[in-house]
């Protein structure tokens, strides 16, 4: 079973993720800010297959988490999808520079999100 970490400070979005991804029997953990995300990652020794993160949130922004996950030498690589309502092109580029695997703008299309998650998980297997 794949483990996915959702980092999102919005109230509604995680509920939607939960439902969308529930279909495929993924195990989902949800944290609301950068600090909790880093804690969770360190607690589990980066034991996730995929991270879905927002960019702007309290404590540590999405880029910082992305950079931590992607610059880690040991352990298996983790796929990262950025889901954000910040549609600024510079930000998207910044994200890809740091090694983001995908970028989705809100509002998302559930079917599309599901396909992208599946594809990434396959790639990283």
């Amino acid at each position: 079973m794949h483990k996915i970490l959702v980092i999102e400070d919005d109230e509604v979005m995680p509920k939607i993720f939960q439902r969308i991804l529930h279909k495929e029997n993924y195990q989902l953990d949800h944290v609301v800010n950068g600090k909790e995300a880093i804690q969770k990652l360190e607690e589990t020794n980066y034991g996730y297959d995929l991270i879905i993160t927002d960019i702007m949130m309290p404590y540590a922004n999405g880029f910082e988490i992305l950079s931590r996950v992607k610059s880690r030498k040991e352990g298996k690589p983790i796929a990262v999808i950025i889901v954000s309502n910040a549609g600024n092109e510079d930000m998207i580029l910044e994200g890809f520079k740091l090694g983001a695997d995908d970028f989705l703008k809100k509002p998302v299309i559930p079917g599309e999100l599901l396909i992208r998650v599946k594809r990434l998980l396959m790639q990283y297997q």
Binding site: D10, E11, V12, M13, K15, I16, R19, I20, K23, N85, K106, P107, V108, I109, P110, G111, E112, L114
Partner: protein, 381 residues
């Protein structure tokens, strides 16, 4: 021994024959004390009201979320991109609480929040739910309210839910005397109107605020239904500078090459801010053919137009302006000009690598610093 009435009448007498200053002071003291008391009570009432509202919301939100999750998010049929004829679960919302106006308002807001996060079939489903629960009637009623902030709220709901509004209702609002309402109504019209969404570009005489431009840009670039016109018509004919400036941004966003002749013509405008915008737009579109014209006008331009021209040469990166950039870099007395020249030289690196090396080797200390600054990938500007 004095009785109470006697005491009061004595006090009143005392007040009556007191000097004016004292009378004023006494009256104002009384006013101040009662105002303070009213303020205390208002704080109390206000806090109590919002406390109760918060409690009610705390109970209602989970209920709405649960219903939406169970009946919309869980619906398997909605995980495709194609429109599906899924049945809308109106029945489950048939609860007494949703007869109350405030609860319906909360529901509308929650639905909007969901629609900000998902689109596609699921988004359509949320919209159908909004309509079938008759929430659009609530919004339309608010649109007829006499309070402008309610009208704005209603417009926001209707545009979020993509509900067409009859021209007879919305057109008067687009001429409202209230600026906020007027702008919101125009945005709504652009988003929802089927025939001529851009008609306000022709008639607007007041400046289009930067804030409104942001909103308009979002509407135009995210509503699929709007057919994008050739913005050249306004760039050429509009007398409203802010509309021209906004159209330049749209031309750039849509890479609208058909508008380029109009933008080039705009280089002759007397307004140097617009001119700078036009140069910026041409640079971002990478119109190589305009380089000669930019070059020939360079000397007669004010500072910020010059920097825009230098930037444009960097963006276009044709390799033809390298000598000019080198000359500006070496001989301009202005720091900004030298920096932009250097930056654009670096952007032309494919055609100027040996020149850049030579400059690095021979430049003065400050110029060398500028070159290194521009070459450093860690520094963005």
């Amino acid at each position: 021994m004095k009785t109470i009435p006697a005491f009061i009448s004595a006090t009143v007498d005392q007040f009556r024959y007191a000097p004016l200053v004292i009378q004023i002071a006494v009256i104002f003291t009384a006013v101040a004390v009662s105002m303070t008391a009213i303020a205390y009570i208002s704080i109390l009432l206000n806090r109590y009201r919002s406390h109760r509202r918060e409690k009610k919301l705390a109970a209602l939100h989970p209920l709405i979320d649960e219903l939406l999750t169970e009946h919309i998010l869980m619906n398997e049929e909605l995980y495709t991109d194609e429109p599906v004829e899924a049945t809308v679960p109106v029945g489950v919302f048939d609860k007494p609480i949703f007869e109350k106006k405030w609860a319906r308002q909360v529901l509308i807001q929650r639905l909007m929040q969901y629609r900000d996060n998902v689109q596609g079939a699921m988004g359509d489903q949320l919209r159908s739910l909004y309509i079938q629960l008759g929430l659009d009637k609530d919004s339309l009623k608010k649109l007829k309210s006499s309070r402008w902030d309610h009208k704005i709220q209603a417009l926001g709901e209707l545009t979020n839910m993509d509900i067409p509004i009859a021209d007879v209702i919305i057109l008067p609002l687009t001429n409202s005397r209230n600026r906020e309402l007027r702008a919101t109504a125009r945005h709504a019209y652009i988003k929802l109107s089927k025939n001529e969404p851009f008609k306000f570009f022709d008639v607007a005489t007041e400046p289009l605020l930067l804030w409104d431009q942001v909103e308009l840009f979002r509407i135009i670039s995210t509503t699929d239904r709007i057919s994008i016109p050739n913005f050249a018509q306004w760039i050429t004919y509009s007398s409203n500078k802010s509309i021209i400036a906004f159209c330049l941004k749209l031309v750039e966003h849509y890479q609208q090459l058909s508008a380029v002749p109009a933008v080039v013509k705009l280089l002759d405008t007397r307004d140097h801010y617009l001119r700078a915008n036009a140069i910026n737009c041409l640079g971002k579109l990478r119109i190589e053919s305009v380089e000669d014209k930019l070059m020939s006008m360079y000397d007669s331009q004010p500072h910020h137009c010059r920097t825009e021209i230098l930037k444009a040469f960097g963006r276009i990166s044709s390799g033809k302006q390298v000598d000019f950039l080198r000359q500006e870099f070496l001989h301009s007395s202005d720091f900004e000009i030298r920096k932009h020249a250097a930056k654009s030289l670096i952007n032309n690196q494919w055609a100027a690598s040996s020149l850049i090396q030579e400059l690095v080797d021979t430049a003065t200390r400050e110029n060398k610093l500028i070159l290194k600054h521009c070459m450093n990938p860690l520094i963005k500007f």
